[in-house]
Symmetry: C2
């Protein structure tokens, strides 16, 4: 399975420029038809909203004749590659806006996942997702999707892995420092591949405290190996090939198994 | 709350020497009456057993007139400090042996916890604990106890924290490299203090593959700060003071909460 992770540097609100940037980055990649492309959270809108109105103005419908430009780009990209595309956008739904990720496959929308665990000021602009968690059947096995702060709740990756996810696509806009190393534990404890597409750059809008995104997009193996990691401060593309079937085995050591040794009867969750 | 973490370098099977070593290390500490002393997993017996008979021979009863020397040492230590002592030993119970941790307070045995998630060859010598997970009331708030490999199962620290644990004492004999950084995530995701007492040294017994213990005993804050960390290869004592009440707040950012934002209705665990 060939995956491409795009770490971009969007300018807030300049959707067409940001899409063009990502498109240009992708046009330079070695593999023209990756099986999966993962784009960052809100990769075309930017992240630091300052009002509900702004979130509404940049939100897009995922389907129908009014579907927005970010969604259209992901759809076209997936048709072009013939594979899967996962990327974030502000989703307009029943008059509310969610921090969402769309999954496209070969030109078709597979699903839209609304971020369940909103981070900090996001709670002001976005409605939290009401679930279910996002598990998608793919030709390469079940894929989980989670968005940025979802990762800090161990239940999310755990639930996805226990439900069969062999790899997780993880659009993010990380600002806290724990993500890159913390995700190693998410891969190791669940014995799955994880792919985080983060962004870089700084936003400082509307008198809010500046947000500096920490890059370090990465692809991790079920044994915690860093298969690829992008730099902290510059836009970058990662191209990695792995065999997702490795994630079927939950062996930690020859006589230890991360799943079979669980004792749900003893947990209080 | 003043805590002392002992990272020792035991010689397999030489219980009296190992206890004397720990005793000597403790006698040099600055604070003569720490509120909590955490000792490593199997700190006096050593780790690399090669037969069930060996595990039986080194196992100790935790109570009664036949209580063993390791248990007697921890009991006496807790009487001397007037505080809590947590440390690992092979526990004899109904003809079986468990990989256990005893909790003493001021000369009294509070509880014995049997490790639930056994690592690798431990499955050959020890019976797994049947629970419950170990939560102990202390004058400083509820304390969780887990042993080494228990840490890799996110459910353990999560269950303890959700049940009120403000700090976790974690005797370990880590050989895998993920522990020291991975535990940062355990502290951060649960917003609790964690205290891992690991060991150093190498064991290579009975034709088994050598085990090298990675030290790096540590005390971590709920925000992931490394309050103290021991070296990789040498015995060491850590002395740290912290306010466990910090762990009552589950705030990750001003508008994000690690507990309140949980959505158990959406998890499949």
């Amino acid at each position: 399975m060939n995956v491409v992770i795009v770490q971009n540097d969007p300018a807030f609100g300049d959707v067409s420029r940001n899409i063009e940037d990502v498109s240009l980055m992708l046009s330079k990649r070695k593999d023209p038809k990756p099986d999966l492309v993962v784009l960052s959270e809100l990769f075309a809108s930017g992240y630091q909203f300052t009002s509900v109105a702004e979130a509404h103005a940049l939100s897009e419908k995922a389907v129908g004749p009014d579907a927005g430009p970010t969604v259209a780009f992901m759809k076209a990209l997936s048709r072009e590659t013939g594979g899967l595309v996962v990327g974030g956008f502000p989703c307009q739904k029943n008059g509310r806006v969610t921090n969402a990720a769309a999954v496209f496959r070969n030109g078709e929308l597979v699903t839209v996942y609304d971020k369940v665990h909103l981070f900090d000021a996001e709670n002001r602009w976005f409605s939290p997702g009401e679930g279910p968690l996002c598990l998608v059947d793919t030709p390469f096995g079940p894929m989980g999707v989670m968005i940025c702060f979802d990762w800090l709740f161990p239940e999310v990756a755990r639930s996805l892995a226990l439900s069969g996810a062999m790899f997780i696509a993880h659009p993010a806009n990380w600002v806290l420092p724990f993500g890159p190393s913390g995700m190693i534990l998410r891969s190791v404890e669940n014995r799955i591949f994880t792919m985080t597409a983060n962004r870089v750059g700084t936003e400082e809008r509307g008198g809010l405290a500046p947000l500096t995104y920490i890059g370090q997009s990465q692809v991790l193996s079920p044994s915690g190996e860093i298969l690829a990691r992008a730099p902290r401060e510059t836009a970058a593309i990662l191209e990695v090939s792995f065999d997702p079937a490795v994630a079927k085995t939950k062996t930690v050591a020859s006589e230890s198994d991360a799943f079979r040794q669980r004792r749900p009867d003893l947990y209080h969750l």
